[in-house]
């Protein structure tokens, strides 16, 4: 054993010295070559020697030495090689008994070494193959049975094969201490060994995926019933494919409707190799974090963190495998689906059975592929084969690295499964994964792991897990996580806007207002009669939906009533952003606040619109802020789907049947709104029933007169009379040979009277899905008015519109800046 110990010493030295590391590395490589040769010789000479405790201790110390020298890339490489070599050597000893011992916890391993009780394992594969096997004292016997094509398949048919085989091998059903089943697609549970219970059979009646392994539980139950004393046979299931232990972050995808989970990996083998690696290192598995990649017909990657598989790249969505495509890029996939180059059925095939190597090379047999290079491949074919191997190597390594996050403190990567046998693949993966020791454990340990599970259950029944309990606990947890993931954050989508863009939608308006508030100051809105649910909800929304807060609010009215609503709707009265002004008369107090400069914008609450208008009008007139001749009017800004800009309509709410002079003021007010929306030269259509003056239609005469008043204006284009279609639809304007500039592209519509205005406005909101923002202009002062019928978006937009207008007026000097007063600071 001198080579073993020399190597261990050299390795220990490697860990201690930082100087001349390359010399040490070279030396270690040489010594490792000696070591592995000696191991090989030993195994050839006397395979059972490996079971000798003395030799095992020496091997262990070499591994431990190397494990402590993780700093050196060579040490990392050698450690991987060494564990691989050791497991490889142990594998054949006594039909894998050494390997199975490693898989068991220490006390169980001891007694298993003494005399393992006979256990039957059932691991059904897709027809026509089935694989029953058994551990009798000191050896494993394994066999496959085949059901001829055409014969009925099922639990009973397969069981007959097992019974026949047992009889042939002199095994008695009555001698069995346990049956180990593969499990199948029952409901998701955490990993571990479970006692088989009837609920599993019930869950298998509607399996997640139908698969041959679903048969195993039924087979085991029926077999046990044939025994003389069925109660004596312990039936277990270990680490089924439906294990699920991933943490919450892993459940999220970029599409809220699609959630991931941990199901769909070869947990049995992942868990087995992780335990094996830990046992070779001589540490409890829970303390050894590794990433295991099982590559074969299906390939999956799992990270073992503190004993749990906290993240997984499952067998259908991660690495490509012999039969499955793995992760696909979505845009080309969508394009292929769109162009019918791919049907959803074909896609399903790529995902589950005909993708991966089969799709790339026309075979799912790697050996055939590699051998073909020597046996007649053309130069291009040979190059493609290299390309495919590169692709697989890189994908495997990338998936491993993806799970090997720094905080997971991954110690090693393990390559396992059928394809791990391929040196072509393994060497490529090893090159990519210089960061970790790469342990190669080709094939799988299904049988040892299944039997080990049952053995543990026999030794200490208390370790067996309760399926129903674990299943329900997990389901509860997942449900809670789903609720978390489905939690609404913004009910209405808020898209990021860049500064200074033209305002073409109400969302733009909101964004632009937020920025303006941020850049200038936060105005204070006084809600006249805030004992009103609508007003409070709107005030709340104003400060939680945009990028920034929109305004401070003075809630004027009865303290008790306002408090009640604020409580119910979680409005935070913080005496800064929201202040309650307790008063008997909100109209008087509201006006007072305006006068004191403590409030800047009026918002309607529980009072009637007329009452508020009267009070504010009186105040504005008295304080000289409303010039003689200025008018109160209402403008509504419509965001109409399919239209690429906003539309202002006036007057649909305040002035009933305005005469020409009033209409001039209405138009002036509407132009203020247009200016606020940064419409450079608004096109105004004076609406009538027709687009030429007709003496019998009064509105057409008035429209023409009104247009004449504005004819000389350079800041706007006013045309009338116009019919609605000519003002709104360029195609119709063209067809009707309308020569004016408005021609279907109006920014502002001046309606003949309140009836026409209101009908148009309500038609648009109720029938076309338009969203609107309303504002009342008292001369220059905007006033916020939302009504119960408005949608939440529309209420918010209305507030934004008024605030935006107010800030504009202040910045243009039309309204006094609140500078002299203690300005409510926008935090």
């Amino acid at each position: 054993m001198t080579a073993f110990s020399r190597f261990a010493d050299a390795v220990a030295e490697l860990g201690r010295t930082q100087i001349a590391a390359s010399v040490g590395d070279r030396q270690a490589q040489v010594l490792f070559a000696d070591w592995s040769r000696e191991l090989e010789d030993l195994v050839l000479e006397d395979p059972v020697a490996l079971a000798d405790p003395g030799i095992r201790a020496q091997l262990q110390s070499a591994v431990a030495g190397l494990a402590s020298a993780q700093g050196s890339p060579v040490a990392r490489m050698l450690l991987g090689e060494m564990i691989s070599a050791l497991l490889d050597a142990e594998r054949d000893v006594q039909d894998g008994r050494l390997v199975m011992e490693r898989r068991l916890p220490a006390p169980a391993a001891h007694s298993a070494g003494a005399e393992p009780p006979p256990i039957l394992g059932i691991n059904p594969a897709p027809p026509p193959t089935k694989v029953p096997w058994s551990v009798a004292p000191n050896k494993t016997r394994e066999s496959e049975g085949h059901i001829p094509p055409g014969d009925p398949d099922g639990a009973d048919a397969r069981n007959e094969g097992i019974l026949r085989w047992m009889q042939e091998n002199g095994l008695l059903l009555n001698d069995l201490a346990g049956i180990a089943c593969r499990g199948g697609f029952i409901q998701p549970v955490p990993s571990g060994t479970y006692r088989v219970v009837p609920e599993m059979l019930a869950d298998l009646e509607q399996p997640i995926i139908s698969h041959a392994s679903n048969l195993s539980i039924g087979m085991a139950v029926r077999l046990s019933q044939l025994a003389a004393n069925p109660g004596k046979i312990l039936i277990t299931m270990t680490d089924p494919v439906v294990c699920d232990e991933v943490d919450t972050v892993e459940r999220v995808t970029g599409a809220v409707k699609l959630k991931r989970d941990g199901v769909g990996a070869h947990y049995l083998n992942h868990k087995a190799v992780w335990r094996l690696v830990a046992s070779v290192l001589g540490q409890p598995p829970e303390q050894v974090n590794v990433v295991s990649a099982h590559i074969g017909g299906g390939s999956s990657v799992a990270v073992h963190e503190g004993g749990r598989v906290t993240a997984v790249s499952n067998a259908f969505s991660g690495i490509p495998s012999a039969n499955r495509a793995g992760r696909l890029d979505l845009p080309p996939l969508l394009a292929a689906l769109d162009r019918d180059e791919l049907t959803s059925k074909e896609l399903r095939g790529l995902v589950f059975s005909s993708g991966g190597l089969l799709s790339l090379a026309g075979t799912n047999d790697f050996r055939a592929l590699v051998n073909f290079v020597q046996q007649g491949a053309t130069e291009d074919q040979a190059r493609k084969i290299q390309l495919i191997l590169d692709f697989f190597g890189r994908q495997i390594a990338a998936n491993v690295l993806q799970l090997a996050l720094a905080e997971r403190r991954v110690f090693a990567a393990v390559l396992t499964g059928g394809l791990a046998r391929s040196e072509e693949i393994a060497s490529r993966v090893r090159n990519h994964l210089g960061y970790f020791p790469l342990v190669r454990v080709p094939g799988s340990f299904e049988h040892e792991a299944l039997a080990a599970g049952t053995l543990c259950g026999l030794q200490s029944p208390q370790t067996l897990k309760n399926y129903v309990r674990e299943r329900d606990l997990l389901a509860d947890r997942r449900r809670a996580e789903n609720r978390l993931i489905d939690t609404t954050i913004f009910a209405e989508v808020i898209r990021y806007r860049k500064h200074g863009q033209p305002i073409t939608s109400l969302d733009d308006l909101l964004a632009s207002t937020c920025i303006k508030v941020k850049e200038t100051f936060m105005p204070t809105v006084a809600i006249f009669g805030a004992d009103n649910e609508e007003a409070i909800l709107a005030a709340k929304k104003a400060n939680e939906q945009g990028q920034y807060k929109l305004a401070n609010f003075r809630l004027v009215g009865d303290y008790a009533a306002i408090s009640k609503i604020a409580y119910d709707y979680d409005l935070v009265i913080d005496d800064a952003n929201y202040v309650i002004d307790d008063t008997d008369n909100a109209l008087v107090r509201g006006v007072e606040l305006m006068d004191e400069g403590k409030a800047h914008i009026v918002m309607k609450g529980s009072y009637k619109t007329e009452e508020i208008l009267r009070a504010v009008f009186k105040y504005l007139k008295g304080s000289g802020r409303l010039q003689p001749g200025q008018l109160i009017s209402h403008c509504v800004v419509m965001d109409i789907p399919k239209r690429n800009k906003l539309l202002i309509i006036s007057d649909a709410a305040v002035n009933t049947y305005p005469d020409k002079n009033k209409k001039i003021q209405i138009l002036e007010n509407a132009l203020k709104v247009a200016a606020n929306l940064r419409i450079p030269k608004p096109k105004v259509g004076i609406i009538s029933a027709i687009e030429s003056v007709n003496k019998s239609i009064e509105s057409s005469i008035e429209a023409a007169e009104l247009a004449a008043v504005f004819a000389d204006r350079t800041d706007c284009i006013v045309e009338g009379p116009l019919s609605l279609d000519v003002a709104m639809d360029p195609a119709i304007a063209h067809e009707k040979k309308y020569k004016g500039q408005v021609a279907g592209t109006a920014d502002v519509l001046i309606m003949p009277d309140i009836d026409a205005g209101n009908v148009l406005y309500k038609t648009l909101t109720t029938q076309s899905g338009a969203v609107c923002a309303g504002v009342i202009l008292l001369g220059d002062m905007p006033m916020i008015l939302t009504s119960r019928g408005d949608s939440a978006r529309s209420k918010l937009a209305s507030m934004a519109l008024s605030i935006n207008m107010y800030l504009d007026l202040v910045s243009r000097g039309v309204l006094p800046a609140p500078g002299a007063l203690p300005a409510p600071s926008g935090e």
Partner: protein, 625 residues
Amino acid sequence: MNFSAFPTHLKEYREQHRASVEQRAAFWEGEGRRLLWRTPFTAAQDDTGGPGPTGARWFPDGRLNACENAVDRHVAEGRGEQTAIVELGDGEVVRTYSYSQLGARVNQVAAGLEDLGIRAGDPVAILLPDNASCVIAHLAVARLGAVAVPLSKRFSAAFSERILEDARARAFVTCRDMCPQKVVEALVTWSKDHGLPVVDAGCKAVGGEPFAGFGIPASGASPREVAPVPVDAEAPLFYMYPGSGAAAPRGYVYATGGWLTQVLVSQRLLFHSGLTPDRPVRMLVGAEPSALIYVAYNLWGPLLAGDVCVCAPVPDVDPNARITALTNTTDPVILLITPHHITKIREHFSALPAEHRLHLVGVFGDAVTPRHLRWIGEELASDVSHVLNLWTSAQAGCSVVSTLALPELCRTGALGLPLLGVAAQVVNDFGRPCGTNESGQLVFTGGFPGLARTILGQPERFRQLHLNAAGQFQTNDGVRQDSEGFFWYMKRLDDVMKVEGHSVSTSELESILQAHPDVREATVIGVEGGEAGDTLVAFVAPREQRDHEDPTGFEKRLRAFFDERAGELAMPVRFNFVREMPRTRSGKVERRLLHRIAQNDLTAAEDLGHLANPDVVQDLVKKGR
């Protein structure tokens, strides 16, 4: 009486408050020692009653007599000639009692009661008008170590009879001339039928001679000396029966040592801070003598502190004259009234001269708005900061949250600060603390000595009703706490409905439903009805395992469960099963919405942006359709 210096600055107060809560036992030990103990206690509290605010026993091994603390002590310490009670008629002082006089009269009545067989621990029902007789009766009962059971004249005779039964009263002290005579007569008859001795105090108005002759031996000699009987600190001092919210009488029990300590602390903090310490104040409480606040601040509080109890009508009729009469003294006068009184006073009020302003006005009972408090400060009280917003509840025993009469400790409109030794917090529906200004329920996270101990004979119900899932003592008041630490009242969380002639509190019904093991949460909504009264609709979220059960089967079981426990309380007419309650983002159950759903308002699902789980509502409304 020695009043140690109280903090006058907010920072100082908050520091002292934090210390008093963190070292609760030490704080209350100090306060407890202000009382006169026959057997001094060794520790302020033990938690043998279990965890949580209701688990503690206070001053468990101490023994004392309440009457001795309120009367004898002052006489013994040389304050016998100080005024104890002032009876005011409609304009002038009609009669006063010094502490010595009061002691003599109490001794006489106690002797009479003793002759009737009343001993320590015996409940004695008291239904008396607001005059000295009521104060004397309470003191006499306490002198014997017996338990006072105040009855309200607003209770129906039938309800009072049930109280007499529930409390197992051993005597009934009343005044046969008082209103409502029919009720009094009925109770007297009932008492006689049930072998209860009836004592007639015999003076319905102020200025009379209460209990004339009662307790004086037949020979006419002066009554014998009745020594105060010491009782355990945890022995009940009185049972308080609230009148509304429950169909069956429910007697809250207050422990002698703890309650007296608490009342004395609040009497000092509320009414003496900001005053030259040793000056007695005159207290008038605008509440019936059976109300807890009367018992606390028109009776025990002032007497313990050596202050003056005023028995007089509330100055809400002819306010200027009455207030002038009330303030016709050199003592500082303190008036405690309800918001309803304020409204009435304002109706006929004209400005008061400065010398007739009240030293301090406290508002209790209902929520009061800042503008009303401001008015009091400007018109009634001597200063804007001399307006207290007193938070009281039947269970808390006395005021434990209030503004204080110092400029720094008063915010007009605020509910105030938690008093020293009281751990109050704002929590959300899950019992987790709310952030600054976030609204939630006011709860007490720890016990304090004045807290009611239990409901007579129903300890389990007491915990069910008043402790939330997190083990905090709930008040059912929605509040917020600002950055300075002041609480602000927002709304009452408990709806009291009139159903089938009974007052029913929704929180009480909810507590019954929630006691069912398969119920995760329950909300009961009252829907205002017409003449038939209101109807109740229950929303129940079953525990997850119940998801699959047939709802009709579950409803049947729930109804049976409810029937068994609710007694005469009304059964909800409809049960709606929900996955979970619709909640706002901070976790409040959205009752407004449930109310609309209960009324079949199918537009309820329109604007749900403020909810944390709008999908629940959509489900509910779909079901409704």
